[in-house]
Symmetry: C2
């Protein structure tokens, strides 16, 4: 457990502040992690004894992030990032506007020296196995090859810190295994990632190109891609899994017989359902900023927030930022 | 039923020639569609009375398409494309090397006048509804905005020809609904697709940006994207659905009780399983070449080939190529 509290953006997310506050309270009560809420006291109501830092402004889910951050200096998300910068909090957690969380962290905490661009590292569930890390999941719609090379290093360090993966396998998302496949960006990033020692410096290794079909399997530990492709993969999986689950649930409820049979099956399906639930993993990490920043999805429930706060505390304890500073900050910056 | 036969590449696909020949025979026997096989008589064996045009060469699944097409002028896939060009066949079907099928069709049939680049239009199943068309699914890893604008027109015409969709909704794949979201390519393509009359000329309309999560839903009829992103979406869905199905099947088989309950449920799940089976839709269409070219996936079974041949015959009957010539050939070529 870190000494400093985790700063939680109480106003961010579709279900804020109620679910956010409920999750923060459970993180304190059940896991003993100190938490400070950032938000409007009047909206938060009963904080259950948690410290609340009053902030007057809120960044809406649909607002333009750059403009909002520039204008709303007293917003909960900006103030949470400042708390990390100022040594008042060990980490920040936000389930609000993703772009605003990225911009707040980037502008207030700054980048780790040597990091060209931070990337959002998302966790993709793999039934029965260790999840796959996907980055960038949307911080940078357009990327240079060198950024992807750094995402590889950062992802390898994160896989080790988060899941204890030794020698994590890093793959580059493309549309064929051959290194000649894909866009110019992919071909150039492939060359940079394949340089001897590059990923080894981060404790990982390059396994070449991987494809979308590898995402939910244990064929790869870290999938590196640009933020446009990464976000498309993430949303395609979310949507695809949801459609499948809904169609299966509909089939299960179609007759008296199937409803009865489903009662027998549900306990066997529950672990899978829980594994695929985005709330299980609590959030993504913004890798490359000079502090721990956890970004939870917009529909986060209290359960998601508990897990996000736990993740924040884990990453502080593992000194993820320190390890990124050592490895990525030191590695020769790739060209491009 | 077209007068001219459908030229089937008997040597293309992981399960060629046996499954390809079996599918071609069923297309003739069950649907009365004339078929000619292109391939090596010795490998094909008993063609069940189907005409076989002897071709001496085979393009392997892993071969570099451009080089293979240049060298192997007597390969089954090249000869099938030539048959369409020469008026000996109404359409071609190949389950072989996708790049080789694209290159053969492009080089032998040529492009429809005015079409900047052909795109692969894939069908994504939507449980309980009309499938979504996705293009480009992989013919062009890197695209110009104007190509995407044409994909929109071609996709709208295809949605009408294939599924009878009136006024098809065309969406542009991005990472947010706002037109300011996404890459430079996406933002520029958005402007071109949104021009008044552009998609209306093809009987469709532009509904703005869509996201990966819309793929398996009925929120959109045609999803337009570059071939890199499209291929990533396709493979992510294929992989995701497969992982989910395998995990569910494993849970169903975990105990005696769940196995019994599954027996009751399977009939209710079968329609969904069949809807999600890639063999159900038989193949993708290469839109923009001057002839009907159906590209089936590499693992095509006889059932997939039957459906691919039927699709070929349907598209000939609907005069899809004629409609593309009229609309896309005539529309003012977009800049970029």
């Amino acid at each position: 457990v870190p000494d400093l509290p985790v700063a939680v953006d109480a106003m961010g997310g579709d279900r804020a502040p109620a679910e956010i506050v409920a999750g923060a309270r459970r993180a304190v009560e059940q896991h003993g992690i100190p938490v400070v809420l950032y938000g409007q006291r009047a909206a938060i109501g009963d904080a259950g004894g948690l410290e609340v830092v009053e902030t007057t402004e809120v960044v809406g889910m649909g607002e333009d992030p750059a403009a909002a951050i520039r204008r709303k200096r007293d917003s909960s998300v900006v103030r949470a990032a400042e708390a990390v910068r100022d040594g008042q909090a060990a980490a920040m957690v936000s389930a609000g506007n993703t772009g605003a969380a990225v911009a707040s962290a980037l502008l207030r905490m700054g980048r780790i020296s040597g990091v060209q661009r931070p990337g959002i590292a998302t966790v993709l569930p793999v039934p029965g196995s260790i999840p796959t890390i996907l980055l960038d999941s949307g911080a940078n719609a357009e990327c240079a090859p060198a950024w992807l090379a750094q995402f590889g290093q950062m992802g390898a360090l994160y896989a080790a810190s988060r899941f204890g993966v030794t020698d994590p396998r890093v793959g580059l998302v493309s549309i064929g295994e051959e290194e000649t496949k894909g866009t110019t960006l992919v071909k150039e990033a492939h060359q940079l990632l394949a340089r001897p020692g590059w990923l080894e410096a981060a404790g990982g290794r390059f396994i070449g190109n991987v494809e979308g079909r590898d995402a939910l399997t244990d064929a790869v530990d870290v999938m590196v891609t640009d933020g446009f492709t990464g976000n498309v993969i993430l949303k395609t999986l979310e949507g695809g899994v949801k459609v499948m689950v809904n169609a299966i649930v509909a089939a299960m409820g179609s007759t008296e017989q199937t409803r009865e049979a489903s009662q027998v099956l549900l306990p066997a399906l529950l672990p899978l359902y829980e594994e695929m639930d985005p709330d299980t993993y609590g959030g993504a990490v913004l890798l490359g900023v000079d502090g721990v920043c956890i970004i939870s999805h917009g529909q986060s429930s209290a359960r998601a927030i508990v897990n996000a706060v736990r993740l924040a505390a884990d990453m502080v304890r593992a000194d993820l930022v320190g390890r990124l500073r050592e490895v990525v900050g030191r590695a020769p910056v790739a060209p491009g």
